[in-house]
């Protein structure tokens, strides 16, 4: 028997279990959304702190980022689940791990975007009597958010695919669902299952990137010599 060959019967098996795979997909999407959101809520202020902050808060954020970016995601997730036990819920633990790791990367995306806005505009905003906070909020942030879209698209794609690492703590996301299908159901269908799973990941990343492109075009502002 050559189990790796594509077989019609195996494709039928995939089709029969499409509902299960889609349920796994829903978990993957939820995990991605929660992690990206956590990453944004923590990462955006952290990026602003790295640019505009000073003293202890700035140093703390910078060091936490270095540690998080320097640790494999698999290690973070296993530490949080098996050692620290932040939560009994595997989903919450995976969200915390993916979200914190993403926060560390989103911090860098927003730091770069904030720094890219010309200092003179901040000064011009101060000159019309805005406070530093108002100037950053009304002048720098709207431009920085636009410029952070390409970096954010990368980050989104990475987080979506890295949700598969949650397999090690037994969450029923897309990859886990696929694995259960061939281990508990039909072992010859492994190739077909992995192809189907890959296709679903691809469709998700592609569709989201396209949507973000649209969003970015819609709020685009002519750029140039200014």
């Amino acid at each position: 028997m050559t189990p790796t060959l594509l077989q019609a019967a195996d494709w039928l098996f995939v089709a029969d279990n499409l509902g299960l795979l889609l349920r796994g997909t829903a978990v993957t999407v939820a995990l991605t959304a929660a992690s990206i959101l956590l990453g944004f809520v923590v990462g955006f202020p952290a990026g602003a702190l790295e640019v505009y902050g000073s003293g202890l808060p700035k140093r703390a954020v910078e060091r936490a980022g270095v540690v998080l970016r320097g640790t494999p995601l698999l290690v973070i997730i296993m530490m949080l689940y098996f050692v620290v036990s932040v939560s009994d819920s595997a989903f919450a633990t995976a969200t915390a791990a993916l979200g914190l790791r993403s926060a560390a990367y989103q911090t860098q995306i927003f730091r770069g975007a904030l720094q890219s806005v010309d200092e003179g505009q901040l000064e011009a905003a101060r000159a019309v009597a805005m406070s530093r906070f108002e100037a950053i909020r009304h002048v720098v942030v709207p431009q920085a958010l636009r410029r952070s879209v390409p970096g954010f698209q990368n980050e989104f794609t990475i987080v979506l695919k890295d949700t598969s690492i949650a397999i090690v703590i037994g969450i029923g996301e897309l990859l886990t669902t696929g694995q259960n299908l061939y281990e508990g159901g039909r072992s010859t269908a492994a190739l077909e299952i992995f192809l189907a799973v890959s296709l679903i990941y691809f469709v998700l990343t592609f569709a989201t990137n396209r949507s973000l492109d649209r969003l970015s075009d819609r709020y685009a502002v002519p750029e140039g010599t200014a």
Partner: protein, 251 residues
């Protein structure tokens, strides 16, 4: 005697070991148009930036309408509501249209409602001849147009005093005229202006006072005809001579 609108007294400023301003005294009355000239590095821009506190001073005082704005407890944003600034590099808000640039300050700082801010913003754009570009973004405007939007943005706050930091230095020569025309118009309307510029045409025709600054000190101060025709100090004569040669040197 009425008190001066701007009263700078014994102002000192240094960056590290470099002394930029060394005891500057300057007074301006309402309606004055004072043009600051001097070699690069003489402290002109620093002096201007000390007036609206974009640069901290080391010692001395800056008083606006009798209020010392440099004392530690002074509210710098109250000061800046009354002192507008036009920058060499325009520094327009790149994500906002011309009208958006002009209305942002009145809306966010003065609390004006959006409709009123737009209506008044249009008036200010009309004043600088750019009402037809209200919906253009900075990147779609020429340098001269951008600088006129910069002027309208400063006017929109209805300031007591307008500061101009080399407003035409970043412009192509053929675009200088449109900005100078707007500035001359403001001067004619009695707006108090402190201008760092070497546009001699503007200085001769619109200025009430010329101040020559060199090495952080005011060397000479007087009405344009006196300072340009019969300068007293050697340093002034030398500088004016150099300036003239440069201008004749460029076609």
């Amino acid at each position: 005697m009425t008190r001066p609108l701007l009263d700078i007294d014994d102002l000192y400023k240094s960056y590290g070991s470099e002394d930029v301003l060394e005891g500057v005294d300057l007074e301006m009355d309402r309606g004055d148009v004072t043009v600051l000239i001097g070699p690069s590095g003489s402290g002109k821009s620093t002096l201007l930036r000390c007036v609206n506190q974009l640069t901290d001073i080391d010692s001395g005082t800056v008083a606006l309408d009798g209020t010392d704005v440099t004392r530690p407890e002074a509210d710098v944003n109250e000061l800046r509501k009354q002192v507008g600034m036009v920058f060499q590099d325009f520094n327009l808000f790149a994500h906002l249209t011309a009208l958006g640039n002009v209305t942002l300050g009145p809306r966010k700082v003065l609390g004006m409602d959006a409709d009123e801010a737009r209506e008044r913003g249009r008036e200010h754009l009309e004043q600088v001849g750019l009402l037809d570009q209200a919906d253009s973004y900075p990147a779609e405007l020429s340098g001269g147009q951008q600088q006129r939007v910069g002027i309208a943005r400063a006017l929109a706050m209805d300031p007591e005093l307008l500061l101009f930091d080399e407003p035409t230095s970043a412009l192509d020569p053929e675009l200088v005229g449109e900005v100078v025309d707007v500035m001359r118009d403001l001067a004619d309307r009695g707006i108090t202006m402190l201008v760092v510029s070497h546009e001699m045409g503007f200085a001769r025709s619109a200025a009430s006072d010329i101040v020559f600054l060199d090495d952080g000190e005011i060397v000479e101060h007087g009405p344009p005809e006196q300072l340009f025709e019969t300068p007293e100090a050697d340093r002034t004569r030398e500088f004016l001579g150099r300036l003239q040669t440069e201008h004749e040197g460029t076609p």
